[in-house]
Symmetry: C2
Subunit: 201 residues, 2 copies
């Protein structure tokens, strides 16, 4: 079956988002990264900044405000912890986007949300610490003397979040169709490989 | 730096060996799979069948016969467990092959043995159980009513062996430059991706 959706999971600083954006541009498809956060914010009533942050935390605390908002919005899932409710909302939005097709979705366990569809190409982008540390300082303007520490914190959070919600190991090759080391291969080559695979599978 | 060596690690039945062989053919490079076993046999004095089998077992028992053979061959590493001595021998052979360059090496933790070289492309090939089960029955003539059980046994052994000797998780994307799902992408497409990457990196 031909590919209609590409998911891009990535290590922080690996260039996965840039790769996903370029792939979408080359294919003429929609790209969901910040757009996805906006949709989740609209659906949940929560601030985008909170959603951005919570996408990396496996949090088990409850929030009266969120539960109240959820109940007011239709009484759905109101008794679940806030992070679980948010996960359910984002999963539903990701599935709706996939149903429409022709899109690239970055992060948010989208590979897991769409694991049962056979029209998806699930990709994972990673790189060694030196490549990522240079990148977050140079491109993201990270102001830290120890970018390596910042990378480790982000890696640990994403690993815990992914594990908590999917039950799988983060970065395990078997969860993806293509995993690429952007540091070794280069951003452009990663884009080429994913675009070619999407066209030819 | 240009690529002179490609390593192919793979799940049993994924077609990784076939992919490696085809990649070597397309590049006009040497291919080491059974040839590697023959070299290890010649160096260690052990039977090829034993080496083939031990490549998947993390064994900590000692063997008087092997230790005696090792000592007779020059007194090297004679006090180590047999499996450790074999690992050292195969590591040295893999490093010698890499030094000569222009070769594809399948399995035997070759990615780990060559982790410090920057002229290597480390690849990992995997596929889902259904694809691999069909393949081992159809192509390898596996005579079992439960190929899935056979796959799990092999996976478990390779995982334990890799973990034991490298300290890393088997199948973790971060240990490789390219990981591919041969079941989803197809054998030919995997060959294309690896050959292109080897030429263009």
């Amino acid at each position: 079956m031909s590919i209609k959706v590409i998911t891009v999971s990535r290590q922080f600083g690996s260039g996965g988002r840039t790769i996903g954006h370029e792939v979408a541009k080359r294919l003429g498809w929609d790209f969901y990264d910040k757009e996805l956060v906006k949709k989740i914010a609209a659906e949940s009533g929560l601030a985008e900044s909170y959603i951005l942050e919570s996408g990396e935390y496996a949090c088990s605390t409850n929030s009266f405000l969120f539960s109240w908002a959820m109940n007011s919005a239709g009484g759905r899932s109101g008794s679940l912890p806030m992070s679980d409710q948010l996960f359910i909302i984002q999963n539903n939005i990701i599935r709706d986007l996939a149903e429409k097709g022709n899109c690239v979705i970055v992060g948010r366990c989208s590979d897991y949300a769409l694991r049962d569809r056979d029209d998806c190409l699930h990709t994972y982008v990673h790189a060694d610490t030196a490549f990522r540390a240079d990148r977050i300082v140079r491109l993201y303007g990270e102001r830290t003397d120890t970018p390596e520490k910042r990378l480790k914190e982000k890696d640990d959070k994403r690993r815990a979040y992914y594990r908590h919600y999917t039950g799988h190991n983060w970065g395990a090759a078997e969860n993806f169709h293509i995993c690429l080391d952007s540091g070794r291969l280069g951003i452009e080559r990663c884009v080429d490989i994913i675009v070619d695979a999407a066209k030819m599978v």
